[in-house]
Symmetry: C2
Subunit: 210 residues, 2 copies
């Protein structure tokens, strides 16, 4: 077993440390966030920090890096109040990763990376047509994390678009059926496989397969 402690962190080369801490955070859902600027320019960017905040009302969050330079996603969300969260197919991982390149503000990542923008009534932001799961979000609150200049951007789920066959009788969404993409760190892409769903755990009775 290897032990890396705080003193070691300071001696690590910056990129090595970023890769280590980012990838150590584990596998997460890869999502493409679609936005539109006040001037009508559409934008698409990959994020790996989707976080469930609550189911009633349905709130999700994500971590946005400081609103400087090329951070079009956060800028657009703050200006328009809405955005879409799209789960790309695992087959589209190279295109999804390509949205992380630094494009000019006037260039749409939809075009540059080979995705198609589609729209639904009530949401100005574009969805990704190729994504098997599409969600319309409305900005609710931006909480600044002063420790390092990042923000927790919280939105309410306004609309969910997906194939009915992904949803089980009890509401469970089997994203593995949708073959959605997972990721770790800034460059590693994963597929996932359902092992089992378990019953509610009780003190005197161990869970069994559902």
């Amino acid at each position: 077993m290897m032990i890396i402690d705080k003193t070691d962190f300071n001696n690590l080369e910056a990129r090595y440390r970023a890769t280590l801490i980012n990838s150590l955070g584990g596998v997460k859902q890869a999502v493409l966030i679609g936005t539109v600027s006040s001037e009508g320019q559409i934008n698409l960017a990959i994020f790996n920090s989707l976080i469930h905040i609550g189911a009633n009302p349905p709130f999700w969050g994500f971590i946005a890096r400081p609103d400087v330079g090329h951070r079009h996603t956060l800028h657009n969300i703050l200006n328009t109040g809405n955005y879409t969260i799209n789960f790309p197919s695992a087959d589209d991982y190279v295109k999804a990763h390509q949205t992380s390149a630094k494009y000019e503000p006037t260039q749409s990542e939809f075009d540059a990376c080979g995705f198609t923008a589609v729209y639904e009534p009530g949401c100005a932001a574009p969805f990704v047509q190729e994504a098997p799961v599409k969600i319309a979000m409305k900005l609710v609150q931006k909480m600044d994390i002063e420790l390092n200049g990042t923000s927790l951007v919280i939105g309410s789920i306004e609309q969910i678009i997906l194939d009915e066959s992904f949803i089980s009788a009890d509401g469970f969404v089997a994203l593995d059926k949708a073959n959605t993409l997972a990721c770790a760190g800034l460059d590693a892409y994963y597929t996932t496989e359902l092992k089992e769903r378990l019953s509610y755990a009780k003190r005197d009775k161990w869970p069994v397969a559902l």
Copy 2:
């Protein structure tokens, strides 16, 4: 394609809605958080909301539900200032899920669920011996999300304990090599498989496999 919108949410049965919104959030790393109370009682609980906040300094967060009733984890973290984050092996998914049962404050989930508590100098909270990745955390900030009474608990990574063979030359931690557990919603457990790592995306050059 099926469209579920905000009006539909209100008509969904509460448990169905919770299962839908939770599971829709996608696959995440399953982690066991180990804590100790001021009185020395140890506690272990499963969480699925680990979130990367920053690499320099290394900060991670997780979402804690309101500090009422059986929320021993948050209570202990606030009282002692430290905790451990342990990534259980995918083989231990039934034991890991069992830590979500409501045990009495005087009962240790380590004993009840079949995990072994181990300690390292400088961290009062117990680690899970069986976990292939163990991390010591120090509480840095609790940010209350007033929208629904949850909190974002932010801590600094103090120590990382893992097998050296999981770390690539550039710092990337291949958690699939450690066979760690992923989960979705409150009861679904997943394994993950690395598809590929990609090079840094550039505007004029598409990424290639690393």
